[in-house]
């Protein structure tokens, strides 16, 4: 049974690798992409139905999949459950370095979406105080990698703390209920925790936030460049709208993520920068600076060439003609 399933999988893989080259002209039946609370433009795009409009003449259905975090988006991409997914840059690099076939032709934002959070009455005052403490973070996401890099700043590593793996929303609850001492948060949960429970940001560093990467499955990008370009154009439309109407975009985020408007405003207006959508030297440099943590903490196989993975991940050319 198992072998047969494998063979079928293999046959399906061969077939799907071979087919689109011939069937390229045929319209897609379904375009699958994610939306996430950490990507306000994805929410705007979904709310206004611009993609559905764009693809209606082709008869292509748009399937929206919710990503609770970069880890989920990358897992779906790796398993070819979605074609286009949003994640943090360093999380995308981690997946790419471990063999996930993805490329990033578009940056959806430059956020400061993560920081280390403690309760308002916490005795923890500095990074060094975190030694031996219990810290929640979602593995495979920017907050987790942010945590590891922050610890490194204080000369600590992941063995010096007790890491508790919880999805972003659960991490917030665990912090506020006192089940963990600190939490590597993610907006909007982090902003909500600050405004609602008075949680304090123990350590922030905008340079340790590694951008919002819009990743496309390598094979989809190669065989469906037109469709990908049309999605990116729609993202551009959502980006322009969001920049022109940040208050409205925050309202959409507040409704979707079920957070108060003040929380959404903090995330969209003060902690997101939508000005630079084309991947470029800035992003490559940020990934190069961040990459060593993946090796230092044994998150990639020994001997992985991270620079090659960065080059394979970041596509600086594809979106150039699409960006206004």
């Amino acid at each position: 049974m198992k072998r047969r399933t494998l063979l079928q999988l293999g046959a399906a893989g061969v077939a799907s690798a071979a087919l689109p080259r011939f069937a390229n002209a045929a319209p897609l039946d379904e375009l699958r992409l994610d939306y996430a609370y950490y990507s306000p433009t994805s929410l705007v795009l979904r709310r206004f139905g611009w993609l559905e409009q764009e693809f209606k003449p082709d008869g292509t259905a748009i399937a929206w999949v919710y990503s609770a975090g970069s880890n989920r988006a990358l897992e779906y991409l790796n398993g070819a459950s979605i074609d286009i997914g949003s994640s943090a840059g360093l999380a995308a690099l981690l997946a790419r370095a471990n063999g996930a076939p993805i490329r990033t032709p578009y940056i959806f934002s430059r956020p400061e979406w993560t920081a280390l959070v403690v309760r308002k009455d916490s005795p923890i005052r500095s990074l060094a105080d975190l030694k031996g403490k219990k810290i929640a973070a979602t593995k495979g996401t920017d907050p987790y990698l942010f945590l590891l890099r922050s610890l490194q700043v204080a000369g600590l590593n992941r063995g010096d703390i007790e890491h508790v793996s919880l999805q972003h929303a659960d991490g917030r609850v665990a912090l506020e209920q006192g089940k963990v001492d600190a939490w590597a948060g993610l907006d909007p949960h982090m902003a909500a925790s600050e405004l609602e429970s008075g949680a304090r940001l123990l350590y922030r560093n905008v340079a340790f936030n590694t951008y919002g990467f819009l990743n496309v499955r390598e094979q989809f990008l190669a065989t469906r460049p037109n469709e990908t370009a049309r999605v990116l154009r729609a993202y551009e439309r959502a980006r322009a709208w969001t920049r022109a109407n940040p208050g409205e975009a925050a309202r959409i985020l507040a409704e979707e993520a079920k957070v108060p408007l003040a929380v959404a405003l903090l995330q969209v207006k003060l902690r997101s920068d939508f000005s630079q959508p084309l991947p470029g030297a800035e992003h490559v440099a940020a990934l190069r600076a961040a990459a060593p943590i993946l090796r230092d903490e044994n998150l990639v196989r020994p001997g992985t060439d991270l620079n090659a993975a960065i080059a394979a991940l970041v596509d600086t050319r594809f979106a150039k003609p699409l960006i206004a």
Partner: protein, 283 residues
């Protein structure tokens, strides 16, 4: 009372492991003992290796077995022992609690009519709850430390053992009990010399199933919020796109589950040595 009825169960009342099996079972040859059980796994492994190397299956979905082996070797030098020990300890404690409670409650329900009326319907209802449904509640009540994991494993181990005990005792031949009563055995002696030996096969099967379920619930518990353990390792591999780590954890779970099951089986064979059960005749 006719004498034949008296003669028959005399053997069963004796609580020492009695007569050796009537027919000595022939020792299986090495082919049967080693080669046949390994045939299927080896074929699957070889098939997977070839399929990935030939590019039939993408390596990011199905890492070749050789890579999983490399990963296991690497992990062995990087804290694998700690994960295995943490998981094994959780299973041991959880199983001990769950199975212990099940033995007590099962015996109570099986031997005491009122207790059965009060307890059994509720316990049967609880049994129907799927393991994952407990997760949010356990997190809420017991936090994210060891307690919810142990409780979860104990819940998993409880029901097979409980069912084994109750159905085992219910299945004891009424005639055996009557004979015990005829011999004027006191209630404790009746339990020890008649009920327990007769119900033992079902109880041991329950314990064995309970242990298997304890391993399963352990993974469910560790997937949620753990800092170490095989479930943690598994989710670590998942979240970092390392299917090889996921597979390595699965292999270890299979090995540990099999080892503990073999230990249980050995105990069963030892305790039930008096049984002359049915075996498939070998050609």
């Amino acid at each position: 009372m006719n004498t034949r009825l008296l003669d028959l169960p005399k053997d069963a009342v004796k609580d020492a492991p009695a007569a050796p099996p009537l027919r000595a079972r022939s020792r299986p040859g090495w082919k049967h003992a080693l080669l046949l059980p390994l045939l299927l796994p080896l074929l699957v492994l070889a098939g997977a290796e070839i399929a990935v190397r030939a590019g039939l299956v993408p390596a990011n979905l199905m890492p070749p077995p050789s890579e999983v082996a490399t990963t296991l070797a690497w992990l062995a030098g990087h804290g694998l022992g700690q994960h295995v020990a943490a998981s094994t300890l959780r299973v041991a404690i959880g199983f001990a609690c769950g199975a212990g409670a099940a033995l007590v409650l099962g015996a109570l329900v099986a031997l005491h009519r009122t207790s059965a009326r009060v307890l059994d319907p509720s316990l049967q209802a609880l049994r129907a709850i799927p393991s994952l449904a407990w997760v949010p509640l356990l997190l809420l009540w017991f936090g994210i430390d060891e307690t919810p994991k142990i409780v979860m494993i104990a819940i998993g181990a409880f029901f097979p053992v409980y069912t084994g005990v109750t159905s085992g005792v219910k299945g004891v031949d009424r005639k055996l009990v009557e004979v015990g009563l005829l011999y004027r055995l006191t209630p404790p002696a009746l339990v020890r010399r008649v009920l327990l030996p007769a119900a033992l096969p079902a109880i041991l099967t329950g314990l064995r199933n309970g242990l298997a379920l304890a391993w399963m619930f352990m993974v469910a518990a560790e997937l949620i919020a753990a800092s170490r353990g095989l479930g943690y390792l598994l989710s670590d591999g998942r979240e970092t796109s390392r299917a090889d780590i996921v597979l390595a954890a699965i292999v270890l779970l299979a090995v540990l589950g099999k080892l503990s099951d073999m230990a249980m089986l050995a105990l069963e064979t030892r305790l039930l040595g008096w049984r002359d059960g049915f075996t498939v005749e070998r050609a």
